[in-house]
């Protein structure tokens, strides 16, 4: 279901004016602190009545201020992970988790309690009250509470910010699966580019209350205007074979990429986030180095940045791979558009959190 | 300086009038604190700055006399009152004697009285009903109030069809009719004793107390329905 959001709202000292439409899947709201992400999410949840606006999920109209229509929050069937947790202090963790269940329609299908509890590692906390949980424990319970509400729309406001990498790595695949099962649209706030690249069907980049870019992550993440120094590329890949020494070979348009063994059947389609600053370029095929992954393509663009770097875009079949290298190297190597070029990635530089299941359909298409 | 008088609340309007007259004649002022007699008696027992105490029953004056808080030589029976049977609105008079069928007259309603074991008007009323042999039958139908005024109000508002109050109270209320007076012998005489307190140092106290028994004052008392002992 597409998500269509048009909002304008004025606080003293801050004006929000956004208008975007995103395809089914997971939409990431990305932007610096104070750019209006939470405000947008609150409007979608019905907790903020904007000065004017229109919000539609598929053909379900949540808000249309022109028609004086606004569905109250409790009729929106939400699973909202609040930025500050907002657990119910008088209920046990278990009761918090099951709260949304009580109000879900009889037939609504949601995940099992035990499955979510395992995923989040909160089994030992079930009979505790939220008052004395640690910061990360609280945010895990908040995620569980939203997921278990059997929602028709998931809103997640920086749900993983308080968690360590290992925990994040356990929870991210769950969101991927949710996205790919395709039933429930997800609006997800994040500052972390790894999360954006792995999860987003579409990225909406906000700055000072306005949308500065909308598009698939491959496009928005490569956009230095939206991303600053965090640019990255997203390559599509297919699982080819699992080798005996613990590596999995992926096929991409630029050649084979070896990564640590993946838990995915051969044939599965994936996407890889490759940070622009993690790519090394070579005019000739390099020999005798430890990096297993050498991709071949040709240069389509060399864009200067502020500072000493340039951003070199290679075409690998239909995909774009950008490399951020120093201007000095580009000069030394006499790089120019049209030239063939090799890109070197380390096998282990493509970390698990950078690899996500590709969308079953409409992958990465813009709005 | 002023004379401070502690007086039973049922005297309020009549005593106010007497005190005004006194002021007009002498240029002195009497400051009067009205409350229930028991409260006033206890306050005097605790050293209240009263010069004169006027009680609604002899009991409390006896108490203060026993504890030495009044000057016994100044004690006198200032006023008398009588007890009447009242009904709401216009009603036919009856004779208050042994034959009176109160339960029938009440017809399921209440007989409104002051508290029959503690407030003077109630104590007198109960004694009279016992003396007339009417008490046992009517006792379960009695609604007791903390003061006579409230007992009167129940009849005035027709919450209760009948009530027993002082003649002075009944006289003041338009919505009630006195349908009978209790025979003087059916209860102890209703007496309001007055006295100067032991701690009084007002040179006007005696003058005011005397004025209360003077002819102009007696006229006012009678006006309000009190009786004045010779």
């Amino acid at each position: 279901m597409t998500l269509q959001v048009r909002l304008s709202h004025r606080f003293v000292g801050f004006a929000l004016d956004v208008d975007f439409q995103t395809p089914p899947g997971l939409t990431v709201l990305f932007g610096p602190s104070g750019s209006g992400k939470t405000t947008v999410v609150n409007a979608v949840a019905g907790l903020l009545r904007p000065d004017s606006g229109r919000i539609r999920v598929g053909d379900w109209l949540l808000l249309d201020s022109a028609a004086r229509h606004a569905l109250p929050p409790h009729r929106r069937r939400l699973g909202y992970v609040f930025q500050e947790g907002r657990l119910f202090p008088h209920l046990s963790v278990r009761q918090n988790l099951l709260y949304g269940r009580w109000f879900a329609p009889r037939g609504a299908s949601g995940p099992d309690l035990s499955r979510v509890v395992d995923l989040l590692g909160i089994g030992p906390l079930l009979d505790r009250r939220p008052g004395a949980l640690s910061g990360g424990e609280r945010s895990r319970v908040a995620i569980g509470r939203a997921l278990l509400a059997a929602p028709r729309l998931i809103l997640a406001d920086e749900p993983l910010a308080a968690l360590d990498e290992a925990r994040k790595a356990e929870i991210l695949p769950y969101f991927e699966r949710l996205r790919d099962e395709g039933g429930v649209p997800i609006l997800y706030v994040s500052h972390a580019t790894t999360e954006v690249a792995r999860l987003a069907t579409t990225v909406v980049a906000l700055r000072a209350g306005r949308v500065v870019a909308v598009g698939p992550p491959g496009q928005v993440l490569g956009d230095a205007g939206a991303m600053g120094s965090e640019t990255a590329s997203v390559l599509s890949a297919r699982v080819a074979v699992h080798d005996d020494d613990g590596l999995t070979r992926l096929e991409t348009a630029g050649g084979a990429v070896f990564v640590a063994r993946l838990d995915a059947l051969a044939g599965t389609r994936l996407r890889l986030r490759v940070g622009s600053r993690d790519v090394i370029l070579s005019r000739t095929r390099p020999e005798g180095i430890s990096a297993l992954n050498v991709l071949q393509g040709h240069i389509v663009d060399i864009a200067p940045e502020d500072g000493p770097n340039v951003q070199v875009s290679l075409a690998l079949g239909p995909d774009r791979l950008t490399a951020r290298i120093t201007r000095r190297s580009a000069t030394h190597m006499s790089l120019a558009p049209g030239q063939p070029c090799h890109a070197i990635l380390k096998a282990v530089a493509v970390a698990p959190e950078d690899m996500g299941l590709a969308l079953p359909s409409g992958q990465g298409t813009g709005p | 300086d002023d004379v401070t008088v502690f007086a039973a609340a049922s005297l309020t309007d009549a005593l106010d009038r007497v005190a005004r007259e006194w002021s007009a004649e002498t240029g002195q002022t009497a400051v009067i604190s009205y409350a229930g007699s028991p409260v006033l008696a206890k306050q005097i027992g605790e050293g209240a700055p009263a010069d004169i105490f006027i009680s609604a029953s002899p009991d409390w004056m006896d108490e203060l006399e026993a504890s030495g808080d009044i000057r016994p030589d100044t004690r006198r029976d200032l006023l008398g009152n009588s007890l009447v049977l009242i009904a709401h609105g216009a009603a036919r008079p009856v004779t208050v004697d042994k034959t009176l069928d109160l339960p029938a007259m009440l017809d399921g309603g209440k007989l409104s009285m002051a508290m029959v074991d503690s407030v003077p008007a109630g104590i007198y009323g109960k004694a009279a009903l016992i003396q007339l042999g009417l008490w046992d039958k009517v006792a379960p139908m009695v609604a007791q109030s903390d003061n006579v005024r409230t007992a009167l109000a129940f009849v005035a508002r027709n919450e209760a069809p009948l009530g027993i109050v002082y003649a002075t109270d009944a006289a003041a209320q338009e919505n009630v009719t006195v349908i009978g007076t209790f025979p003087a012998g059916s209860h102890d005489p209703i007496i309001y004793p007055a006295a100067i307190t032991a701690q009084s140092d007002s040179d006007q106290a005696e003058a005011f107390l005397d004025y209360l028994s003077s002819a102009p004052a007696q006229a006012i008392w009678r006006d309000f329905g009190f009786t004045v002992p010779e």
């Binding site: 409790h74 939400l78 949304g100 939220p130 004395a132 | 109030s145 919450e159």
Partner: protein, 236 residues
């Protein structure tokens, strides 16, 4: 001590004790739902007449109890407009009944109850109620599952305050329903009666001790409940 007292109480006094408990409980529990509603409305809603409602709720506190009792008599008495209505349509008679005593006590205690509950409502973070709404709870369910449990300590405090007041109420009660032993003679009326006769202090003191005993028991119970609720919420 209470036992020693008990043996020295006459049947009329026992009746007064029983009646006071009955009046106190009925007044408190009967007015609690309305008290919660009014407190919630005053704390959260804005509507025309809000200040008016607030004023009316406080009236019994401001007026001398006799006046309140008198007004009750005028409106809820057998001849009063509300009293007549209740009698004709529901067969409810308040005047000279213990139910009237309960009404008087409830009205006198109402401002205390409402204030306590209102303060508790104002202390509830609306963000928690919003969270419940996003999870599908309609306003009534939000109230029942989130607001109410969170204000429970305030509700208990309000109820206890009301109960204590109901146990102690005298002026309005006696003015409205007079003092009929076994029907409307509550502890304070009995105490008052003893204080009116010379030498009645001792008997009054006995009843005062009983009043205090009852109220203390209620207080201790309420503290216990409030602590349990608080302990739970701190997460231990």
């Amino acid at each position: 001590m209470i036992e020693g007292l008990a043996t020295s109480l006459g049947p009329a006094e026992w009746q007064a004790v029983r009646l006071s408990l009955q009046v106190g409980l009925v007044a408190t529990l009967g007015s609690l739902p309305l008290g919660i509603l009014v407190a919630y409305a005053l704390a959260r809603w804005s509507f025309p007449g809000r200040q008016m409602l607030n004023g009316i709720v406080h009236l019994p506190l401001i007026l001398p109890p006799v006046v309140t009792g008198y007004l009750l008599l005028v409106f809820f008495g057998r001849r009063g407009p509300v009293g007549q209505f209740l009698d004709q349509w529901f067969g409810i008679v308040l005047s000279f009944r213990w139910t009237g005593a309960a009404l008087a006590a409830a009205i006198m205690a109402f401002p205390l109850m409402v204030r306590a509950i209102r303060l508790a409502v104002e202390a509830v973070d609306p963000k928690l109620e919003q969270a419940a709404a996003t999870l599908g709870a309609n306003p009534v369910m939000v109230f029942l599952t989130v607001t109410f449990p969170l204000i429970l300590p305030g509700v208990v405090a309000g109820a206890i305050l009301a109960f204590a007041k109901a146990i102690g109420e005298f002026g309005a009660t006696i003015t409205f329903v007079s003092n009929i032993p076994g029907q409307t003679q509550t502890l304070p009326s009995a105490i008052y009666a003893f204080l009116q006769v010379p030498g009645g202090e001792e008997a009054a003191a006995r009843l005062v001790m009983i009043s205090i005993g009852i109220a203390m028991a209620a207080l201790l119970l309420s503290e216990y409940v409030a602590r349990r609720v608080a302990r739970r919420m701190s997460g231990a």
